[in-house]
Structure formats: C-alpha cells, structure tokens
Symmetry: C2
Subunit: 490 residues, 2 copies
Amino acid sequence: MPPLLPSHSAVSRVTAVIPTLTRSATTSAGTAVTPNKPPPSKDHYVHTYSPEAFPLGYSVSSTHAGIKKKSGALDLGILVSTSDTPTSAAACMTRNVFKAAPVTVTSELLRSSNGRARGFIINSGCANAVTGKKGLEDAWSMSKSTTSQLPPSDAKESDAGTLVMSTGVIGQHLPISSILEKIPGLIQTLDDSPKSWLDLSKSFMTTDTFPKLRAKTFKLGDRLVRLVGIDKGAGMIAPSMGPPQPPHATLLGVIATDAAIHPEDLQNALNYAVDRSFNNITVDGDMSTNDTILCLANGAAGSTDHQGRETAEKMKELTENENPQEFAIFKEQLREFAEELAQLVVRDGEGATKFVTICVKNAPTYEVANAVAKSVANSSLFKTAMYGEDANWGRILCAVGYTPLSPNPISPTSVSVSFLPPSSSSNTEPLRLLTNGEPEANIDEARASELLKEEDLEIEIDLGDGKEEAKVWTCDFSHEYVTINGSYRS
Amino acid sequence: MPPLLPSHSAVSRVTAVIPTLTRSATTSAGTAVTPNKPPPSKDHYVHTYSPEAFPLGYSVSSTHAGIKKKSGALDLGILVSTSDTPTSAAACMTRNVFKAAPVTVTSELLRSSNGRARGFIINSGCANAVTGKKGLEDAWSMSKSTTSQLPPSDAKESDAGTLVMSTGVIGQHLPISSILEKIPGLIQTLDDSPKSWLDLSKSFMTTDTFPKLRAKTFKLGDRLVRLVGIDKGAGMIAPSMGPPQPPHATLLGVIATDAAIHPEDLQNALNYAVDRSFNNITVDGDMSTNDTILCLANGAAGSTDHQGRETAEKMKELTENENPQEFAIFKEQLREFAEELAQLVVRDGEGATKFVTICVKNAPTYEVANAVAKSVANSSLFKTAMYGEDANWGRILCAVGYTPLSPNPISPTSVSVSFLPPSSSSNTEPLRLLTNGEPEANIDEARASELLKEEDLEIEIDLGDGKEEAKVWTCDFSHEYVTINGSYRS
C-alpha cells in the first residue's frame, strides 16, 4: 500500500492550528520539571527532558475536571497530532470479557478509520467500565466533542477521530458534563513544552506515586526519529492485551512517535512489543477491564525541526514489506522502549518495595517459559516472602509446580533455581539454590539475605529441557498494598 | 469384590495392642478440652466432644519432636487403626508437579496395598518438599519405622503400611533422627481420649490459629457410624487434588470413619467429596506441594461399643454396586463433613477477617461456574476490598471477566451480581448491584456497607445462561496476611 504523502510542512502551521499555543517551555530547553512530590525513594524514576527530546508534531494539555476528589489533581488530558500528514494509530487492549466503554469506542474508531487518529483524550479517577449504555454514550461524547472542536486538519483524514482512555473506579458513571465543559479549555492550552508532557503524564495517574514519562531519540536510516511514552499502573496489573479487532484494556499507556509507519505495520510492531513488555508484567494478577496501549505515528520527523523550520523531505510511511531493515530497527526500538515503560509500572506497583525479574530459561517453548515465570510472579506467597526479604525459595518451586500447563512438560528433576546478584555486585556468581531438583547442600544464607536486601532482585529458573527463555517483571506484596486496596474508593 | 470379613471383635484387644493405653478421658465424657489459646474471635470454632463422638477402633498420640522451634509445640502425631478388620484407605493429593516426598510415599503405599493402611504419621514445621533423594528416604523411614514398631495386626494386611503427611517450610530436610527417636514414645502413649484427638489436631498446625477437629455420628442402615475429621490450613491454600494414581498433593486433612467401605468405593466417595469441598476453597491461590486428604474406614462400627463390649455383628464392607442406597448416604455425609472441614480452613485463612462465599449460578456448565467463582475468590483486589469493607463490586466483575475460559461463554449483558444478606438478617432481600450488565441506578450504599461489616459475606453471580451452579469459599486479604508470610521462616 503506498504511503500517503501530503505535500506541506506541518509544524509551521502549529501556531495557527492551536489558538493559544504557549511555547514558553520550548524556549527553556533543559529546564528541570518538578512533579507533584513523589516519595523520595521513587524520585529518581521521574526523568526530565529538554524540548528537543519530544517527537515533533504533537501538542498536549491537561486539567482538573473534578473526577478525582483531590482539588487541582490533574484528571483529564488530551494529545493531538498537529502534523499535516495522516497519523497512524494502533492499540493493544484488554482481553477481559467486560471491556470498558472507552475500550469499545477506541476499537470502533480504529476500525472505521483503518488505523488513523487525531489523538486521544484520557481521564483518570473513573474507569467508565461496567457502566452499560450510558457509559458507552459518555465515551462517545468525550471522543466526538474533542474531535469536533479541533481545528480542521490538513491531513484530510475525515474518519480519523479522538481515541479514548479511562482509568479508575469500575462501575461508576463519569461526571460527563464536567468533562465536556473542560474540553474547550484543554484545546485552548495545547502545547508541546516539557512541562505539558509531564502534566499529561500526571493526568494518567491513579494510585501511581510518580508520573511515568520517557523520551528517546534514535536513527532510522539517516533520519532522527523520536519516541515519547507515558503509562500508568499501579494495581489491577496483569495485562493480556491483543489487537483491537475483535475489540478486547488498568494499564494505560501511549507511545507516540514522529516516525511515519503504515497503520497495519504499526499494529504488528505494537503487538510484538506489547507481548514482550506490558503483557509480561504483573503487580497483582488482576487483568483490568481497561488495559490499553495506544501507539501513534504522525510522520512529522525530519521534515521540520523543533522551531518549525523545514529541514528535510517528509518521511515516507514505512512498511515491513518495502522497508524491512528500517522497519526491523523501529520494531526493536519500540520493544525496548515498551519494556522500559512497562518496568516503570512495576517500579510503582501498589505498595511495591522490590522490583523482581523472573527469568525462565531452557524451556521447551516460549509459552511454557512465560507461563512458569507468570505463575511465580503472581504467587502471593512468593511476593510476601520477597517483601519480608525471606529466602523462602520453596515457594518459587511450589509456584513453578502449579503452573497450569496441559500437558505439563516440566520434569522436577531437571529444574534448577538461582538468585542472580545485581550487575553492580562485586560477587557476580549466581547463588544456586537448587540443582536438578535437589536442594544445594549448604546454601549461603548470609549471602541470600544480602541479595534480598537489594531493591532489584532477579530469580533464574532453569527448566533444563529446551532452549526457550522468557522474562517477567513483578514486585513484592506489602502491607501498603493492602492499605491502598482496602480503601480504594474512600 | 467380596468384602474381607475377619471374624474377631477388635476393641477388646485394644488395651493389649497398645501397651500403655491411657483412657482417662474416656471416663470424663463431655469434659471440655481447652486448646492452646486460639484468639478470642476464633475460640468458638474449637469444638469439644465426648468420647462417644469418635469412631471406634482408632488410637492417636502426638508429641514435640523439635521440628517446630517453639518449645513443647506439638509437631509429630500418629493415628493407628486398632480394628481387627482391614482398614480401607483413600487419598486425594496435590496436582503440583513438585510433589513432596510424603505425597509420593503415601501414593506408593496405597498402590502397593490396594488401598489398605494401618494409619498415618504426620509432622508439622517442615514440609519435606523439594528435598530430593534424602527427602524421599526420610519419608520412607517415618513410615517404615512406625509400621515396624506397631504390634502385629489381626487384620492380616501384610501390605498395609503407615501413610505419611508433612507440612511446613519447603526445601528443608526433616530432623529425621529426632523424629525416629520419638516414634516409640508415640506408640506407647496411643489413646482414644478426646484430649488425644485434640492434641493430634494440634500437631497438624502451622500458621493455623486454632486446631481443627470435628466429629459426627449418623445412621447407615440400622447401624450408627461415626466420622472424625482433622485438617489444617492456613496458607498456600488453593488445592487441586485428585486420586493418587498417577500420584499428584499445604492443606492436610484426614477423615476417619468406623464404617466399613471397600477401598475403591472409598476413593470414589472421597473424590466426590473433595471436588465439592477442599478443592473449592482458596486462601491465597497457591497450590501446595503437600496437599493431602486421607480417608480411613476401619469397619469397627457397631461390632463393639466404646467400652469394648460386643454389640452387633461386624459391618460388611459397603460397595456402591451392592449397597447403592447406603453408599449414597455415606457419600453425601462424607461430602457434607468435608465441606465443614474445608470451611474451617478458610475461617482460619492466614490473616483472615472475613469468610466469603462466592456462588455462581445459571452457568452453562459446572466447570464454568467453578472457574468464575475461583477467579473472583483469588483476586487480590477483590480480597483487599472485602478486608476494607469496601463495596467495590467492579472488582468482582473484573475478575469474572478475566476468568480463563476458552472458548469464553460469558455474555457481559447477561451477568447480574448481588450481595446476599446473612440468614440471620431481618432484611433477607438480596442487594442487587448489577442487572444484565447494567449497574443498578441507586445502589443502597448504606446497606452495602452494613452487609460488608458482617464476618460472613456472600456474593451471588448470576451468569444468566444455563442451569449449573458452583460455590467457592474464600477469605479476605489483610495486613496480617502480609505480616505472617513476610517472615514465615523467621
């Protein structure tokens, strides 16, 4: 399929399209942006970027619409592609039977537009899930109201709409009139400053303790392209997401790039990346009704710079068929970036004090490796032991043993388990606990305790029968998790 | 198969068989037996029985073998059938790939004896799981040492051995020499007093806060028969147990009866009962390496009374084929008794403050109903909400929606959810939350809060498509759960 190639430069139009575009931050390159007080232990996960770090051709804004109870808390945000080329859009969404209204609406929008979008609107504080017909009407209103108030697009994508995401309490209706009232203001204040990006990431937050924003620049051919990613956790995290047809989402995330990628190929690349990142994290084993990862590619890269000056010819939409090498680079960069974003959610898992990597190797298939790693990662007993810094590796074995596999290819006498020390450690030897189903005679409990005091833990499970490997990332299970979730609605 | 019928009365021999049988408690019928201080809130779950309540032809004893750290804590016990008729034995054991050594040994003993046993030996404090060859040797030693020291049996069951159960930490070796040293003393002090039964139930305990002992008498034909049941939880509870061939099993339990049931039929009745009781409880979703429910039937009923006087002809071994009506009564009594014992484990779930019944009705199949109920019962978010007495029913729906079913027959628009009030409540109307996928317009939150303050909660999920029903029992997820399991080995 030939890529669509509009003939005009995009960014020079930005100030016209966005009425009151405030570009203050773009003039203060490198200014540190301070988020709303994350706890000191999490502070280093909040990264700040200079304006050049963000993809070209996107503007964002956010506000308080009264969905969250806390006065002034950001709970409504929008992102709009300002590129004059059509924006490709792809999504991976929850496989939960009870799909939230925004999941259904976003799926339909992507189908009817053949994978094109103007941008998205997101709210936090209310998931608009299990809300019946009114919920669906509300999600459509959010989308349509935003699209109708955007200035006409030069990209000539009549079907391209505004995708919708919601996160928060299930089974309650959105305060839809408050939301609709805020949309004109959001559009008025659209902007591409680092502060606005960070604020957008705050509007994703529910029980998250820090905003999750990442940016990355890499070379695609001789052209620099950029990725920006936002996501949120921090509970009901055990995603299993597939492409939206048939529609199948409260992990929410978005990755936007100024590369140009054909929609079908963008979906394929996103499926690949999500299967190896977001679908391999778990906080509590609860697969949400709202999990959604959006991916937008507006093709604004390289044609202009951050000051809106023309710098190069427009990028053509990549397809895997026509540009296998460049596509492979994009796909791998997307996977790596998705992995980084996914891990941030685990870093901020509700009540989490540990970041645990479960690596299962020498498995007969990837699926077996993945299922075993998830079985351990979801075990409450394993997770509480990690919280207690207790080298109770028997619980690891127990969870390996009850992995629901049929037929079950695991041979107990082939399984070996080790704690892996952090790469910064002076002793990089793995601490072997079990070899071929036999416990090690003299486990160095002192070293085990020392390893367990680290924030980052890594467990290696060798099934001893095959060549395949999978990694899953999880966190521990703490008193704080119970506190947070015992009174989520209060 | 014709039942084996030895010709002699059993109980008159008991004092001869058991050298120093102390029968003090049998002379103090109805005397209350005080356990080791359960918390006041759990005290009423400790039942006491008069000597007549226990099945005839069994003797028990227990001791401290130093497996548990606490000085004097009972951690080793035995039960021996003193009947001179062969004792049928059946077991349902874990399906975890890593079967603990005692599970393997018990399976082999039952296979080689065609379902006969002399009794069992149990230890708590160490699970003897994932302990390799030495673990297997230790389990065999426990069994063989006990059997070899028992007086010869009139029942002429040369192959009948002593079954083995262990519970506690995984991956550590038993202090086998301390255990073996204690066996002669255990045999010396065998006894059938209420205190000894209660002590045996204490020797099962790990994180349990109260001993779990139940007894029941019912009529089978014109004969009174008795059941005694002991079990223990309280974590790593999500059993999935099947018959021991092929061998599959830290839920431990035993049900002993003085009815006479053929071994194959006893196994069938136990499978039926366990599938509808122990396999339908969950504390934390962790299926143990050691789960075992034993069932013993020694046929001592009715031939003698508790004072050893002959009262009737010996009972013939029941089979389903030859005695369908009586067998049906036995099977249903066993199921009901197993349900009571299974619920006790949930009552004492680690850190539990709530007892929650999940009833799924109008499902297309029992398997669907059961899978949906378990999905909700295992949801950490649901369980923390119950702990917090938060009517966050969205989490119920969420867990219904991610039940792993393929194909998935659940239609979101057919699902209804209610809180059921306790039977003691003045308002017995269900509190409807969701009808056919639509949330109720004005949920009475005050009544929801009131219902959630009860210790016993019941949730009804109507799938609206079918006739099948399943019940699953679970508890909430509390701070105390995390405390208990964060430092289990310390």
